[in-house]
Amino acid sequence: MSRDTALRIAAYGLAIAVSAFFVFPYLWMISASFKSTEAILTEPLQLIPDSLSFKAYRDIAVMSGVGLGTYVWNSLWITLASTVITLLSTGFGAYALYRAPKLPGFGLLRVGFLLVIMYPYMLLVMPVYLVMFKLGLLGTVTGIILFLSVGPIQFFLFEQFFRSIPREVIEAARMDRASETRILFRVVAPMARPVVVTVTLITILLNWAQWFPILVISRSTDTYTLPVALLSLNSELGVNFQGIMALATLTTLPVILVYLATQKYVIEGMISGAVKG
């Protein structure tokens, strides 16, 4: 075996070991959700249980008097609705601020937005309770959706995309006296498909994971999403470890699937969002 091959094998060995560190918690989680209490206590490292137990999944069918279906539905609906609103508001917003940065008020808006995304998020959520109260949105799904629609990096992703459009393309359209609406929908929008896909995916992933604003704005467990339900599964009356792992699995698995299917968009989107921000 040549020195080169040996090095290669060693390198792959190391990379696999490091990757195992990242992946193991997921495997452990999934495995624990199918194990019996006894198996967990005696063989914490065994990943493939001797027998499959679905009890944990039956146990979480109803949590705090609310059916699992409600949590799943809340997660889906809140994630999708806030993603659509984020997409529209930051897309159009970034376009307007890019095309006409000098318009009165737009400079202020940009600075204001920068302040908002710099403010420690969990500390922003506390006064949001008051805002929701003043708007009459406390405890409503509408309130949750609107708050989640203020996204941090989506604006930058759009802005970066608009900056990449050659000036001449828009200038040409302006020469033809096309209206601004027409320019946006006929000239810019057709080119925007990749950025829209990226922003959509990233927003879905970010909003699916949200928990703190939802916890704060909710006034009953009826508006909890999966991560919040997961956090609330501990109570003074006892704990169901397997149930927690089962719910963690349900919370994580959809995201993993979306990620695996679309990894290129997601990773590149995150990079360009960060590079810009």
Binding site: A11, L45, M118, P120, V150, L231, T252, I267
Partner: protein, 306 residues
């Protein structure tokens, strides 16, 4: 174009200007509304509340107490300790994450892994996109001394047990590891993007120079990685100064007050109706983050590395 004519009159120009800009205002309106109502307004409320007495803070006519809450916060030994803990943790976390991310990215972009690298990249980025609550809950139980995987693995390898999150001496390391698991993939990926843009000819030149690895690394590679280092350090600084979810899920600030970071402490205060001091702490943390972010941004602009 029917009226091909003389120079358009002022009123026509004005109307056209308005027409175009009305569209832009319309486009920006939802974004502005959300930013103001869900962002700036709560920030303003929070700052306002920090100058009121907690007991009256939420009533229609709050009592304003000037800087009393800030004085109380800075005089509170728990807060001072919490601020130092937060700083120490942030420095540790930023250095650890960036150094490890840098070397792992270098490793992944080396020729040794040419074809398989993408799958390893995929693995380390996986936690970044999954819900943090779920990830930390799993870590919490993996650290459990009673049936967690961490100690079971250590025992199986014949190593001493790890105190995990139950001992003051190990809790910082334990949550550093859990947070690194969650965040480091992001920094790795940013470094990888930068590595892909490296100028290989400089490498060659260094090779011809017979420069040692370390010399090559510090003289040739690092300077070219400045964009990634800047981005990563800004993100990491802000990220770890705000450390919150991991504390809520795993340690609740303990053992003792070993992980009682500022954001968690402020949240606890808010939960116990200490609105004045809680928002004062929030405002302090906000100011620190803002100063840091602007300093880094300014430093970044001045160098103009792009």
């Amino acid at each position: 174009m029917t009226t091909r004519a003389n120079a358009p009159s002022v009123s026509v120009l004005a109307r056209r200007w308005l027409g175009e800009n009305a569209t832009f205002y319309l486009f920006a309106a939802p974004f502005a509304a959300l930013t103001i109502v869900m962002g700036l307004w709560p920030i303003a409320l929070s700052i306002q509340t920090s100058f009121t007495e907690s007991y009256t803070a939420l009533s229609p006519q709050p009592t304003y107490v000037g800087f009393a809450n800030y004085i109380e916060v800075f005089g509170d030994p728990v807060f001072t300790k919490s601020a130092w803990l937060t700083l120490r943790y942030t420095v540790l976390a930023v250095v650890l994450n960036l150094v490890i991310a840098l070397f792992y990215a270098m490793f992944l972009s080396s020729v040794l892994l040419s074809r398989g690298a993408w799958i390893f990249k995929l693995c380390c980025f996986l936690p970044v996109v999954t819900p943090d609550v779920a990830g930390y809950i799993v870590w919490k139980w993996m650290y459990s001394g009673d049936f967690g995987a961490v100690n079971a693995a250590l025992t199986a390898l014949g190593l001493p047990e790890f105190g995990g999150v139950s001992q003051v001496s190990t809790v910082t390391l334990a949550i550093l590891i859990a947070e690194m698991w969650y965040h480091v993939g992001f920094y790795v990926v940013i470094f990888l993007a930068n590595f892909a843009m490296l100028d290989r000819t400089l490498d060659e030149a260094a090779h011809l120079d017979k420069a040692g690895f370390w010399r090559k690394f510090t003289r040739v590679t690092l300077p070219q990685l400045r964009p990634a280092i800047t981005i990563n350090s800004i993100y990491a600084l802000i990220q770890f100064l705000k450390t919150f979810t991991v504390v809520v899920v795993i340690t609740k600030g303990g053992p003792g007050t070993a992980t009682n970071f500022v954001s968690y402490y402020a949240y606890r205060q808010f939960d116990q109706a200490q609105y004045g001091t809680a928002t004062a702490m929030a405002t302090i943390l906000f100011s620190v983050i803002m100063v840091l972010a602007f300093a880094l941004y300014w430093y970044n602009q001045r160098r103009d590395w792009r």
